[in-house]
Subunit: 340 residues, 2 copies
DNA sequence: GCTGCATATGTTAACGTTAACACATTCGAG
DNA sequence: CTCGAATGTGTTAACGTTAACATATGCAGC
């Protein structure tokens, strides 16, 4: 039966068992009637021959590839790599594989990547926040009836589901934690408010200050151009130079927290003694010296929801767009000192 | 021509252009004769209709999926995520997509993952060092004539190509760098020598000491059970308690370096003033306070070689096994002080 | 001894692409 | 004007799987 160096086919099993393709198919799909004797024989043959169904043929016939596309850009703190991992894991649990496109897409490449996914006839596409993928391109996918899920992207599109992290609440919780330890002047490091996600984190920061009756001091808020260590470093230097510098800093990314620590190290100051520090995304915070309190995202939940949303839409292609909210978890690592 | 919500097929193009499938095929493959008029018309139709060839059908016919499997386990420092990224990028440049399996495989799962890849009829499989994938399973792939490339795994198997990083040289260079700055007692933190990769790094450490005429002091070498921050922390505490503690430490992973920094922070000591430190893999070192000198791996080279080896074997399935060596790059970040 | 249903199996036409093959037409060289 | 390239196009049989349809036997109920 073994055709040298070739994959075993249903036909090979059928021949060896002396039955037709259909009977083998019935055993494989556990559907329809097969005599006990034949079933046993076929199952044994499948085992010993190491038959594995050809997903290409299955896909061609069934019009489904069991492949899901994931558009994402990895960044230095590898948050998106972790999301990618979560997506992969959740997909695998449902019998899907993930094609991850991690480009740095100029707008041409972006289009090429989507074409690539369409070519592979992916059953769904997940688009994460830090890609540029345009509405037009998403509409193209929708037009092809390919379910699309966006993670942490803010615009809405008919028949496109979304996953949003409750960043406002997450940030507020972090800042409340700082306030509870007695801090009154709390610095903020984040991206300009043109980024919706960042807007939410900033609002959460404001919420917490407001709830505690603390005034928002513009001098304490640093808006930097990009997620990077260097940006955190520079922001910290700026904050240090203030006449009345903050005693604590809330950073909207662990990358910023790294920069804060580097700046402090340079100045010979320490966390938490000289400055309290809380980061965001919990990607690096456990690794730093000292380990930093940070706001963790529920990555597994994100992955599972992404797959679940695709599955749902695979069942009902014209279901109304749904937005799933995912919460955050404050992970306390003692980088916030208690102030007198 | 548009069949609502369905992908455009060659047949649709052919019909619209008033030609046969074969003619469209000739345009698509740029092969054979097509009249200029027809060519232009067909090309335009392909454009406007947004035709994308079905890789499932192509794969079924051509017995190639344009998919490459990658077996890997992501670890906390995300080194393997970065390798994964490099592999993806290199694959894409050659028209391949990557199916990444990032399990924490008990030996059953491992088998299931490989079956999954076989099911998708991957054109090749890349296996990275930190998986458990057994020889038996690899032999199965070889039996199916699927090219296999192993990254940083040490055993040899006929028709299985390998990529090895020149860890011995990389470690030696790092330690020589430390010695050049005047250090004489240099600690070592690494895994037990049962791991071949670690064995090489340890040998490199010994090489450098030997070349400099320095004695190897067993007391300065810490073999810890796993790559982790905690292990680095504990090793540092142990080294600190020595009567004659080292003035520098070479760690075989940036994760260890993180632990070293945490331990020093705890003790109120500083890098590089109180201890020189060099890490390995350059995954985290740039983010730490202070940034740490580390041995970088040529990730892009690893990715490109992996794909190139698969391509080569796709051309000649019974080519003899080849091992490609990839070098390292010492990235100096001033975490090694100059001793008197 | 039918009828009808449960059981058991086989045949065949897709799915979208490719490539081998066949069949035209044109044109230049002899 | 005829032969053989060169040019241009069409037909068809795979690739491996699925599912609709067809067929056949045995047996219970009447």
């Amino acid at each position: 039966m073994q055709r040298l160096g070739k994959n075993v086919r249903m036909a090979d099993i059928a021949e060896a068992a002396g039955v037709s393709l259909a009977t083998v198919g019935r055993v494989l799909h556990k559907r329809g009637y097969v005599s006990a004797a034949n079933r046993a024989r076929i199952e044994r043959l499948i085992q010993t021959a190491g038959y594995v169904p050809d997903k290409l043929a299955q896909g061609l016939k069934n019009r489904e590839s069991k492949l899901i596309g994931h558009l994402v850009v990895f960044n230095p703190n590898m948050l998106f790599a972790k999301i990618s991992l979560a997506v992969n894991t959740a997909a695998l649990a449902q019998g899907f594989q993930v094609l991850t496109m991690t480009g740095h897409p100029n707008l041409d490449e972006e289009e090429a990547q989507v074409r690539e996914l369409i070519g592979h006839r992916v059953d769904g596409v997940i688009i994460t926040s830090n890609t540029r993928v345009s509405k037009a391109l998403i509409r193209k996918l929708v037009g092809l009836k390919i379910p699309v899920v966006m993670i942490e992207r803010t615009f809405t599109l008919p028949q496109v589901d979304r996953i949003r992290v409750d960043d406002r609440q997450g940030a507020a919780e972090a800042v409340r934690h700082i306030i509870a330890r007695g801090h009154r002047r709390i610095g903020f490091i984040g991206l300009p408010l043109v980024h919706d996600v960042e807007k939410l984190r900033y609002r959460g920061y404001c919420d917490a200050l407001g709830d505690a009756g603390l005034a928002l001091d513009q001098a304490c808020t640093c808006f930097v151009p990009e997620y990077s260590v260097a940006a955190g470093y520079q922001a910290t230097e700026a904050l240090s130079k203030l006449a009345d510098p903050p005693t604590a800093v809330f950073a909207t990314s662990d990358l910023f927290a790294c920069g804060v620590l580097q700046a402090l190290h340079q100045q010979g100051r320490r966390v938490p003694e000289d400055l309290a520090l809380v980061g965001y995304d919990d990607t690096l915070s456990a690794l730093l010296a000292p380990p930093i309190t940070s706001v963790g995202l529920s990555l597994e939940a994100i992955g599972q929801h992404a797959i679940a949303l695709i599955l749902r839409r695979l069942g009902d292609r014209k279901a109304p767009a749904r937005t799933v909210r995912v919460n955050t978890v404050l992970i306390d690592r003692q980088s916030v000192s208690t102030l007198a």
